[in-house]
């Protein structure tokens, strides 16, 4: 049976912890990853705050789900787009974010960067090129 592979884009626009959107998005991405689709993640607006390093949620009594992002590579999720303009208006740089990688089987499991910094115009093209956009 032939199956159609679609380009799925998960669009993250919310900060973590204040609402459940960020965590739920990650859950859906992990579930969706089991279906062999072409998956991309986009982080714009407050969504970029999800990927900041060094989350310590002990003081607020909530689960710290940020280490889960590091597992995305193992689920063949290796296209993570971050919007430059969203970082800039928040005074952030890539150095403030987790370093996420995936292992390339074809190159002796070499670690490759999952995160790609893109402009707003490039992000618009990424959305345009997707078959399905899931918004969180």
């Amino acid at each position: 049976m032939s199956e159609t592979i679609k380009n799925f884009l998960y669009l993250n626009r919310r900060a973590p912890y204040g609402t459940i959107y960020a965590w739920e998005a990650l859950e859906v991405v992990l579930i969706g990853a089991a279906f062999d689709q072409d998956v991309s993640l986009a982080f714009v607006d407050d969504g970029v705050y999800q990927l900041t390093k060094g989350h310590d949620t002990a003081g607020i009594g909530m689960k710290n789900f940020s280490p889960t992002f590091a597992a995305l590579g193992d689920y063949e999720v290796k296209k993570i787009f971050i919007e430059q303009e969203s970082l800039e208006e928040r005074g952030l740089t890539l150095d403030d974010l987790q370093h996420l990688v995936w292992e390339d089987e074809d190159e002796d499991y070499a670690e490759k960067d999952s995160i790609k910094l893109v402009s707003r115009a490039e992000m618009a093209s990424i959305m345009d090129a997707s078959d399905v956009v899931f918004s969180f």
């Binding site: 919310r14 900060a15 973590p16 912890y17 204040g18 609402t19 607006d45 407050d46 705050y49 900041t52 390093k53 060094g54 989350h55 310590d56 949620t57 002990a58 003081g59 607020i60 909530m62 710290n64 940020s66 208006e89 928040r90 005074g91 952030l92 403030d96």
Partner: protein
């Protein structure tokens, strides 16, 4: 006695902080909690708005909410005080009332 204003929304997502600062009188206390803590950070689009507000109101930020989101005290705008939950309780007790901006 004055009022303690709490803001729990990101300034990028809602105008709660802006409206709060428009209404908070001189000498009022403003506490940034949950996603409101992003307004306390240096280098954001809202930094100048918050710095200007510091001339007339006191601004506090809840430390556990900062740490949960990966930020420490050195990223906080000068003049803003970091408090813990006990400090939150003290602020609530010291002020005549608490007004929440959601």
């Amino acid at each position: 006695m004055s009022t303690l204003h709490t803001v729990n929304k990101s300034p990028f997502e809602k105008n709660s902080l802006d409206t709060c600062l428009n209404y908070a009188g001189s000498g009022a206390n403003v506490l940034l909690i949950e996603d409101g803590i992003y307004a306390a950070l240096k280098g954001t689009r809202f930094e100048q708005r918050v710095k200007t507000a510091l001339d007339s109101v006191k601004v506090f930020v809840l430390g556990p909410d900062l740490n949960a989101r990966g930020f420490s005290e050195e990223r906080v705008i000068e003049g803003i005080s970091v408090v813990d939950y006990a400090g939150f309780v003290d602020l609530a007790a010291e002020n005549a009332k608490v007004q929440a901006w959601l």
